[in-house]
């Protein structure tokens, strides 16, 4: 079965510093990978997905199949980036639409 690991429960960085939120997955096929974000008192929402290869709010994520990773990066953290971040994987090979989520990383940007 697929698994998503986010090794850091909490990550604190200073404003203006680079940010990297780690995500590793275990899956034998070609996964669909996503990052979701939940700001304080807001609903969980999609941040970006690997198939789009886009940058959202300055964040990017590259799928590294060799290392089975999908780390989320931003060169300069902003205070408004403070939130809970979840990495998620969908499993086309299983013919199922369900997403498997990691346990999440809380990002705190210190002013």
């Amino acid at each position: 079965a697929q698994r998503v690991t986010q090794p850091e429960k909490l990550l604190s960085v200073f404003k203006g510093a680079p940010v990297e939120l780690k995500c590793n997955y275990s899956y034998s096929g070609s996964p669909e990978l996503f990052w979701y974000v939940q700001y304080s008192r807001q609903r969980l929402q999609l941040l970006l997905r690997h198939i789009s290869r886009e940058s959202i709010k300055g964040f990017t994520a590259d799928l590294n199949k060799g290392e089975t990773s999908f780390h989320l990066k931003k060169p300069f953290a902003q205070e408004e980036d403070s939130a809970m971040y979840y990495c998620a994987l969908s499993d086309p090979g299983a013919g199922s639409y369900q997403l498997t989520f990691g346990k999440g990383t809380k990002l705190s940007v210190i002013p």
Binding site: E32, S96, Y97, Q98
Partner: protein, 113 residues
């Protein structure tokens, strides 16, 4: 813009009560999901549905059931609430595509006393 609406933001129930959590989406999405969100455990899938009257168990279905009589509505039922079901419950919907994002509701914080 997709809207997923959960009927209650906060709910307090007693142990043993039957509890209904309702979710409605307005974008004609085929898939609907129920997750519970707990600190340190992330999101865990309870049940999902890919069509009317269809349902599949997720990772933690014990103690829960679901109902999908209409495409836009997906209900989560706690047959006999217990204190270990105190949690934040999130409903989501998506199109029937593997790279289609999930659209979440605001969540229902359920407390079972």
């Amino acid at each position: 813009d997709v809207k997923v609406t959960q009927s209650s933001r906060y709910l307090v129930k007693r142990t043993g009560e039957k509890v209904f959590l309702e979710c409605v989406q307005d974008m004609d999405h085929e898939n609907m999901f129920w997750y519970r969100q707990d600190p340190g455990l992330g999101l865990r899938l309870i049940y999902f549905s890919y069509d009317v009257k269809m349902k599949e168990k997720g990772d933690i279905p014990e103690g829960y059931s679901v109902s999908r009589e209409k495409k836009e509505r997906f209900s989560l039922i706690l047959e006999s609430a217990s204190t270990n079901q105190t949690s934040m419950y999130l409903c989501a919907s998506s199109l029937a595509s593997y790279n289609s994002p999930l659209h979440f509701g605001n969540g229902t914080r359920l407390t079972v006393t």
